[in-house]
Amino acid sequence: MAALLTQNFITALLLGAVTASIPLLLAGLGEQISEKAGVLNIGIEGMMLMGAYAGFLLAYRSGSPWLGFAAGAAGGAAVAAIMALLCVFAGLNQVVIGIALTLGVQGLTALLHHVQFSQNYPRLADFGVLKLPALSAIPVLGPALFQQPLCVYLAWLAVPALGAIFRATHLGLSLQAAGDKPAALDAAGVDVVIIRGGAVLATGLMAGLGGAFMAEIGAGIFVPFMTNGNGFIGIVLAMLARGKPWRVLLGAMLFGACLSITTALQVAGIDVPTDVIQMLPFAAVLLALVIFGRQASLPAALGVHYLRGAR
């Protein structure tokens, strides 16, 4: 057990946790926007996967990871646009369409990857890291938290930014109203459909970025079905966070640690079957739901299509 507590082990664990947590963080924050506005976005898994595929493809073809992120965001938003069109504007069942979009993206990205790369999985060049002065010199924590690619810091910045939007802007209030009492928002002269549609698009954008991060930085490759439930974990994070972005960050770090424990244990020379390790994050989610389930609060009008004048 002593080997578990060496400095290297803790640094490796934290480093892996950060890398694994960023996609969850972005997906969770994105889902939070949708849920606040009253849309249960089950399609987020598909949006993430599309982001991973598009992000990887453009980063690989152009050699620019930033173009990759732009493509990932666009890919996620494109899937979200279908969701917004069908569920927010046309009022189709959010769960059915969410599943359909996830299935469709899984099939489509696997097909496209096969056509372009056959059985090859080309690897992207390493993404450079940005060492924050002074902070990165802190032992143990420094190398794990403050020697990260620039986009990690940007993702962290999204947490206070979203918090400020939710708390202190008119837009934040409108989002909340769209989820809790859409009729009141409508009466106040704000278009519910526009607010909800915009929220779904924002979710797709964030989830696409999360997927792109996963492919470009987390793995460095694209593999069909690679998001493997990360989008769904994002939904759980948003549910448990009760509308607070910093709670999503906390949850993402905890689940990221669960995901990264495999590599960390290997560093420490302990061999645990990967299938057992893979169960950890999902077991953690269920445990969290058992303990905090009663407190997981969702907006009153979540999943309910808003039709003006309908009772």
Binding site: L86, A100, P273
Partner: protein
């Protein structure tokens, strides 16, 4: 009749054409693809019998989903319930086959599969009934957990010591579910068809079914009418998951014979669109599952022959589901807006 054509047939044709377009854009010949699908899945004796056998598990998954969805419970954890039941049955069946007569061993295995499936739904049921936690999330999480647990069981606990391949012991063909008459069709098909018809009758014609549908229509109204809602939610989860587990048992006892590591047919999410296409009606689901079986069996051959990944079936399913939803909504609008 014209409504059925408009809301079910038209989306189906459109989905075939749209997904064909995807194939064409990817450089494969959609006509050749669909021709092979129909030839191999329907018009060859071996293919037809394979399709019929292949229907059993999706039929039972369909029955599982119909029970849940009609009661307003989104049990999306069928894959975990299916796979765990399959693994436990695969491990138990070869042992039982040596001791018990064939009919007793098979019946016990079917019951065992149902029990394992039901057990995997206890936690989501508890959370839904007493904590009000959204069951979509919990059942999906249980599926991810269940799939990994199934792999652990196959590789570490139930692995066949006589092979180096990580898989469970293979059930000898003589001990599997018998064939129907003189065909190669497994009698699992009969289990599937009878079960989905029973489910349809129970949901549509019995007081118990009515109670479940009331819970589905409005939990508040059901509570107000004095129904024991938490207990009914438990029954729905238990029944639905038991049917998914039964599907796993039937697939092992009738088709697979063993479970290889990392095997996961992931039926549930693809069967969801089909039961919606059937409007949650058990009778209507039967021909659709047959169609699905043809598409899977024929699609496998077509994909191999044309060098297209098997995942193309997913694209067809997704397109079908979306178009179906659109046509359903348009249909409802027309009825609400139009005369009468």
């Amino acid at each position: 009749m014209s409504r059925i054509v408009l809301t079910a047939f038209l989306p189906f044709i459109a989905a075939i054409i749209l997904s064909g377009l995807v194939l064409w854009l990817l450089g494969a010949n959609p006509v050749a693809y669909y021709t092979i699908v129909v030839q191999r899945g329907l018009f060859s004796t071996g293919g037809l019998q394979a399709s019929a056998t292949h229907m059993a598990a999706p039929l039972l998954i369909g029955a599982s989903l119909i029970v849940a969805f009609r009661a307003g419970i989104w049990n999306l954890g069928g894959d975990g319930q299916f796979l765990l039941a399959a693994v436990v049955v695969a491990a138990a069946a070869p042992n039982m086959a040596g001791i018990l007569p064939r009919w007793a061993a098979l019946s016990l295995c079917l019951a065992l599969g149902a029990a394992v499936g039901a057990a995997w739904s206890v936690l989501p049921a508890l959370l839904k009934a007493y904590q009000g936690v959204n069951e979509i999330i919990t059942t999906l999480m249980m599926t991810f957990l269940g799939v990994s647990l199934a792999n652990v069981l196959v590789k570490l606990v139930f692995a066949d010591p006589h092979t180096t391949v990580p898989q469970t012991r293979t059930l000898p063909v003589a001990d599997r579910l018998p064939h129907v008459f003189h065909t190669t069709i497994s009698s699992g098909l009969l289990v599937g068809v009878i079960t989905i018809i029973l489910v349809q009758l129970v949901m549509a014609r019995t007081a118990f079914g009515l109670k479940l549908r009331m819970v589905g229509a409005s939990q508040k109204a059901a509570l107000h009418a004095g129904l024991p809602v938490p207990r009914l939610i438990f029954s729905v989860f238990g029944l639905s998951a038991a049917l998914a587990g039964l599907a796993g048992a039937v697939d092992i006892l009738g088709v697979q014979g063993n479970v290889r590591a990392d095997w996961n047919p992931a039926y549930t999410l693809t069967v969801v669109p089909l039961v919606f296409l059937a409007r949650l009606n058990g009778f209507a689901a039967i021909p659709l599952m047959f169609l699905f079986a043809i598409l899977s069996i024929g699609g496998e051959s077509a994909a191999r022959r044309l060098g297209v990944p098997n995942q193309f079936t997913l694209v067809v399913m997704a397109t079908l589901l979306i178009l179906l939803g659109v046509s359903e909504t348009l249909d409802q609008r027309r009825r609400n807006g139009g005369p009468g």
